[in-house]
């Protein structure tokens, strides 16, 4: 069921990210939803162009962007962060309730529970 893992990345991750291991801003969780803005792909590196092109179709989580493009999530975060800085990508409100806000957190859990029960 698992596809063969023999696809080798053409470029090593640290080359794609110009040597950086950490994103320029720390806004990304694996489930932060990202979507392309209406601007074009402009003069972007091939990897960034692939991300913007993918995200033009609709919203995806950071993890899905990494998965679809065969990028390690850590690399996807660095590139997405750059693309937010350059205005190509925007994040969609994704604040899974401030943990300190108990009632909001409980409301969220109830929504999850209701959604799961509806699938039975």
């Amino acid at each position: 069921m698992t596809p063969p893992r023999n696809r080798k990345a053409l470029v090593r991750p640290h080359v794609v990210t110009a040597g950086r291991a950490r994103p320029s801003r720390n806004i990304f969780d694996l489930v932060t939803l990202v979507i392309a803005t209406s601007g074009g792909v402009g003069p972007l590196t091939p990897e960034k162009r692939r991300i913007v092109t993918l995200c033009q179709g609709g919203a995806l989580s950071v993890a899905e962007v990494a998965g679809h493009l065969d990028l390690p999530p850590s690399v996807a975060k660095v590139l997405l962060s750059d693309l937010v800085d350059s205005g190509h990508i925007t994040t969609r409100a994704n604040a899974p309730a401030d943990p300190a806000d108990r009632s909001a957190h409980e409301r969220l859990l109830r929504e999850v529970l209701d959604g799961l029960r509806a699938r039975l």
């Binding site: 991750p13 943990p99 209701d114 959604g115």
Partner: protein
């Protein structure tokens, strides 16, 4: 059925405003990938990070490319729970040496479902320790393989040394209803008063 073109189904609906995650954890070959695949509405995706044996991301080691590295794979899937809410399930091995990967996964996670194989219960301790270290509340589901003998849950509970309040259920990771019930047991538990959010 919705009218979205098949090719667009991979995207999250426009109306979704919140994305949450639950972890599906357990030792090698316990059925995490199957569990995620059974419930996911998208073809499950896999990502890989290359780490050093010590658990640092490889990119942290500029100039030392020949350190021994290992790959940590993570399978994940997505369930749209309402017009405004999607749930991501991350199936991941519980190895404490991948500290940074775990911090990333645990951050913002609502909780975790620990899948266990009743024939290899001792392999589950490391992952339960890890969840406790990260303050993640969990429920335990015995993945009931056809061929495996059925153990009374009370014996499993004692062998795993679970708290009396920790839910313990059986499930068949291949069956969507059974897998959904296991997640419901977890989220029900997360709603129990006294559960601290990580």
């Amino acid at each position: 059925m919705d009218s979205v073109l098949a090719s667009d189904r991979r995207y999250v609906r426009d109306t979704v405003r919140t994305a949450v995650k639950l972890l599906v954890v357990g030792h090698f070959a316990v059925g995490k990938t199957t569990f995620v695949g059974t419930l996911s509405e998208i073809r499950p995706l896999r990502t890989e990070e290359r780490m050093t044996q010590a658990g640092a991301l490889v990119d942290d080691l500029a100039g030392t490319p020949d350190k021994t590295t290992t790959t940590v794979a993570m399978d994940f899937g997505r369930l749209t729970l309402s017009d405004e809410l999607v749930l991501y399930l991350f199936g991941t091995p519980g190895q404490s040496r991948f500290k940074r990967l775990w911090e990333d996964l645990a951050r913002g996670a609502l909780g975790a479902l620990v899948l266990v194989d009743p024939n290899r219960l001792e392999h589950s301790f490391e992952v339960m320790d890890l969840l406790e270290t990260h303050g993640l509340t969990y429920a335990v589901a015995v993945n009931q393989f056809d061929s495996a003998p059925v153990y009374p849950l009370q014996e499993v509970r004692e062998a795993l040394d679970l708290l009396p309040s920790t839910p313990l259920v059986t499930c068949d990771a291949r069956d969507p209803i059974s897998a959904t019930r296991a997640l419901i047991a977890l989220v029900d538990h997360l709603l129990t008063p006294g559960q601290e959010y990580a």
